[in-house]
C-alpha cells in the first residue's frame, strides 16, 4: 500500500446551478486519523460519497487506496468501510441479521462466527435478536461502525458518526476509532464538533464547497495566523461587548471565565491590549499560544462572512 490512502484533485460536484463541492484537492495519509470539518451543508457528505465511488464527480479526479474513483468503484468498495451520516442499516432487521447481511455482501468466510464475534465485541451479546430500529442513537452508531468494519477494510469513511449522540457515547466512539487507527486502519471522519477535530492527526476544513485549509492538525493554527490574548477578571460581559465593537478585534470567544481575543493582525491587537491595560486594571491580559479552537471559530465565522451573501449556500 502506498502512503496515501485517498488523493483527489479538482474534485467537483454540481447539483443544478449550485457547485456543492468546488475543485477540492485533498490527500489523506495512510494510517492517519483525518478530520474533515465544516458546517452543515458544506459538502462533506458529497465529497466522501465521491471518494468511495457512490457519486460521479462532475470534474476532477481521484484515487482511493490506489484505485480510480470513477473507473474502479468496485475495487474501492471491497476495501473501504463506509458509515453513512444517517443510520442506513435495516431497521426492520435484527442486529444479527444486519451484520449477517453485510458479511454476505463482502463474502466473508466463516460468516456465522464472524457475526457472533462482532456482536460480542460490540457488547451486544444476548441482544443479537433485537430489531436494529429499536436501538438507541449511540448503539445504532456503534452497530453501524461494526457493520462497516466487519470486512476489515483498510480505509474507514465515517460521515458525522457522532452527530446527535450523548457525550459518553461520543467518547467511547472515539476510543474505538483510536484503537482502529492503532491497528493500521486509515480513518477519514467528518464532524462539526471541534473537540473531535482536536483528536485528529490531520485536518481539512471545508465551507460552502471550498476547502479552506488542510494539513497536519498542529500546523493549522499557525496557518490560520491568529494571535490570541487571554483575558480574565470580573465582569467580563461589558468588556466582551466593548471588544466585539472594536474593529481591531476579529474574534472574541468565551471559554469559561476567560475571553480569548484574536486577530490576524498581531500589531493592531497589541495596540489594543496596551490601551486596555492602561485604562482597566481589573483584567489580566496574557498572550497565549494559538490553538485549534480559535482557529476553527475564526474559520467558521469568516467562512460565513465570505459566503453567505451570495445566498446560495444553506446554513
Amino acid at each position: 500500500m502506498s502512503d496515501v490512502a485517498v488523493s483527489v484533485k479538482g474534485l467537483t460536484k454540481i447539483y443544478g446551478h449550485k457547485t456543492v463541492v468546488d475543485a477540492i484537492d485533498m490527500e489523506v495519509p495512510a494510517g492517519s486519523i483525518y478530520g474533515f470539518l465544516g458546517p452543515n451543508g458544506s459538502g462533506k457528505t458529497t465529497t466522501i460519497r465521491m471518494m468511495c465511488g457512490l457519486l460521479t464527480p462532475d470534474a476532477g479526479e481521484g484515487h482511493t487506496l490506489g484505485y480510480d474513483i470513477q473507473k474502479q468503484a468496485r475495487e474501492i468498495k471491497e476495501r473501504v468501510g463506509y458509515m453513512t451520516q444517517k443510520f442506513s442499516l435495516y431497521t426492520d432487521l435484527t442486529i444479527r441479521e444486519n451484520l449477517d447481511f453485510m458479511a454476505r455482501m463482502y463474502r466473508l468466510p466463516n460468516r456465522k462466527k464472524v457475526v457472533t464475534r462482532t456482536i460480542e465485541e460490540l457488547g451486544l451479546s444476548g441482544r443479537g435478536n433485537q430489531l436494529a430500529g429499536t436501538l438507541s442513537g449511540g448503539w445504532k452508531q456503534r452497530l453501524a461502525l461494526a457493520a462497516a468494519m466487519q470486512h476489515k477494510p483498510q480505509l474507514l469513511l465515517l460521515d458525522e458518526p457522532t452527530a446527535g449522540v450523548d457525550p459518553k457515547a461520543r467518547r467511547d466512539f472515539w476510543d474505538e476509532i483510536r484503537r482502529l487507527s492503532k491497528e493500521g486502519v486509515t480513518i477519514l471522519v467528518s464532524t462539526h464538533y471541534m473537540d473531535e477535530a482536536i483528536q485528529c492527526d490531520n485536518i481539512a476544513y471545508i465551507a460552502y464547497g471550498k476547502l479552506l485549509i488542510h494539513g497536519p492538525a498542529r500546523e493549522i493554527p499557525a496557518r490560520v495566523g491568529l494571535t490570541t490574548w487571554r483575558v480574565d477578571g470580573p465582569d467580563l460581559i461589558p468588556l466582551e461587548d466593548e471588544l466585539r465593537a472594536d474593529p481591531r478585534v476579529e474574534q472574541v470567544a468565551r471559554f469559561g471565565a476567560q475571553l480569548h481575543v484574536s486577530s490576524t493582525n498581531a500589531k493592531a491587537l497589541e495596540e489594543l491590549v496596551a490601551e486596555q491595560r492602561k485604562k482597566d486594571k481589573q483584567h489580566r491580559w496574557v498572550k497565549k499560544e494559538a490553538e485549534l479552537e480559535e482557529a476553527f471559530i475564526y474559520l467558521m465565522t469568516t467562512a460565513a462572512d465570505n459566503f453567505t451573501p451570495n445566498g446560495e449556500a444553506k446554513p
Binding site: L54, E78, Y90, E97, R104
Partner: protein, 377 residues
C-alpha cells in the same frame, strides 16, 4: 473476479424474505387483493362487445352467400376475417383465439331456401366470452335474413313475413353454459398478478432509497443483477401463492374448468410473473418515493385492465387501443390463461403469446438494468 456472487445474491434474498415476513400490511394486501378482486369482478362485470373476428366456411358460391359475407362485413358485431376450409381449420382458429365465430353456409343453401327446405346455418362460437355470443347470434340471424331478402326478393316474396326460411344451429364451444364468470375469472388472474407484482416490487426497492438503506447497499460491492434477482425471487414465490389460491377459488366458487396443459400454464405463468417483477423494478428506477411508485403502478394498471382484452374483447377495440394493448404483458398472459383453462390449449397453442411476453419482458429487463444506478447520482 467472478461475475455473480452467490453469497451476495443470497444475502439480498434472505434479507428480502425477512422483511417481507415482517411487513404485515403488504402481506395482507397480497392475499386480500386477489380475493376482493375476484369477488367484485367475478360477480359484477358484464358487457356487450362488438367487432368480433369471424371466419366463414362457404359450401357454395351463391348470391345469398355473397350477400351474407357483405352483410357481416358491414355489421358492427362481426369483423369478417376470411374464409376457412374444413372443420379442423375452424376449430384451430377458435382455440388459438384468432376467431370468435366460424359460420358455415352449407352446400345448396340458396337452392334449399328456394325450395322451402329450411336449410341449417351452422355457427360455432367461442363462448368463453359468453356475453359476446348471445347478441352476436341474434345479429347474425338478422344479417342472413336481410341478405336473403335482398337477393331473392322475387322468388321469396311469398315467404316474406313468415318465420325465417332457414334454421340456425349454434354450437357453443369452451363454455357451453355461457357463464360470464367463466370468462372473467381466468382473465382476472392476469390482472391481479400485474397489479400486485408490479406494485410490490417497485415499493420494495424504492423503500431502500427512501429509508436511506440504498446507500449502505450500494456502498458494498454488490452488482445490479444480484440486487435484481435477490429482490425479485421472493415475490415470484408470492405470485405462486396468489395463483394457487386463485385457481382453487376459481374452481370452488365459480366452477371454472382447467382444461389444458398444466405444463404450458406453468411456463407461461413464470414468464409472466418475472416480466411483471422486472416492470416493478423498472418503475423503482424512475421514481423516488413509495408514493410515486404506487402512483406509477396505478397508472400502468389502468391500461392493463382496459386494453388487455380483460374488460372489452380485444378484437373489438379500435386500432390504437389494440396497439397499446399488444405492448401490455397482461394482454398475452390473459390469452394464455383463457386458452389453457377454457379451451384446453397445449404448449403449441400458446407459443405465439409466450413469444410476445418474452419480447416485452426482455425489453423491460434490459431497460431496468440500464437504469439501475450503482451510484447515488
Amino acid at each position: 473476479m467472478n461475475l455473480f456472487s452467490l453469497s451476495r445474491f443470497r444475502a439480498v434474498l434472505v434479507k428480502e424474505f425477512i422483511q417481507m415476513r415482517r411487513d404485515r400490511l403488504t402481506f395482507a394486501m397480497m392475499i386480500g387483493v386477489p380475493v376482493i378482486q375476484l369477488l367484485l369482478f367475478g360477480y359484477a362485470i358484464n358487457n356487450d362487445p362488438r367487432n368480433l373476428p369471424t371466419l366463414l366456411e362457404l359450401g357454395e358460391e351463391s348470391k345469398v352467400a355473397r350477400a351474407v359475407v357483405s352483410g357481416m362485413d358491414t355489421s358492427d358485431y362481426f369483423d369478417f376475417q376470411g374464409f376457412v376450409f374444413g372443420p379442423d381449420a375452424g376449430d384451430k382458429a377458435l382455440r388459438e383465439g384468432s376467431a370468435n365465430f366460424v359460420v358455415v353456409i352449407p352446400p345448396d343453401f340458396e337452392r334449399d331456401i328456394l325450395r322451402g327446405l329450411s336449410p341449417e346455418l351452422l355457427v360455432t362460437a367461442d363462448a368463453s366470452d359468453p356475453t359476446a355470443v348471445g347478441s352476436a347470434v341474434a345479429a347474425l340471424s338478422g344479417i342472413v335474413e336481410t341478405a336473403i331478402a335482398q337477393t331473392l326478393d322475387g322468388p321469396l316474396t311469398a315467404v316474406a313475413g313468415r318465420p325465417p326460411p332457414f334454421s340456425m344451429v349454434v354450437h357453443k364451444q369452451f363454455n357451453p353454459e355461457g357463464r360470464t364468470a367463466t370468462n372473467i375469472v381466468p382473465g382476472l388472474l392476469a390482472i391481479i398478478l400485474a397489479m400486485t407484482m408490479v406494485l410490490i416490487t417497485a415499493v420494495a426497492i424504492v423503500r431502500e432509497t427512501e429509508r436511506g438503506t440504498m446507500e449502505t447497499l450500494i456502498s458494498t460491492p454488490v452488482r445490479s443483477t444480484e440486487v435484481m434477482l435477490g429482490k425479485i425471487l421472493p415475490y415470484v414465490l408470492i405470485g405462486y401463492v396468489q395463483t394457487l389460491l386463485f385457481l382453487i377459488m376459481a374452481k370452488i366458487l365459480f366452477n371454472v374448468p382447467f382444461e389444458g396443459s398444466r405444463m404450458a400454464f406453468f411456463v407461461g405463468f413464470n414468464i409472466y410473473v418475472v416480466v411483471n417483477l422486472a416492470l416493478g423494478f423498472l418503475i423503482s428506477t424512475l421514481v423516488h418515493t413509495q408514493m410515486q411508485a404506487m402512483q406509477a403502478s396505478f397508472f400502468l394498471i389502468l391500461p392493463t385492465i382496459l386494453l388487455s382484452g380483460f374488460m372489452f374483447p380485444f378484437a373489438g377495440m379500435p386500432g390504437w387501443a389494440q396497439a397499446i394493448g399488444t405492448a401490455i404483458p397482461a394482454t398475452h398472459f390473459l390469452r394464455i390463461v383463457r386458452k389453457i383453462m377454457l379451451k384446453g390449449a397445449q404448449m403449441a397453442d400458446i407459443a405465439i403469446d409466450l413469444r410476445a411476453i418474452a419480447i416485452i419482458g426482455g425489453m423491460i429487463v434490459l431497460i431496468a438494468l440500464l437504469r439501475y444506478r450503482r451510484t447515488l447520482d
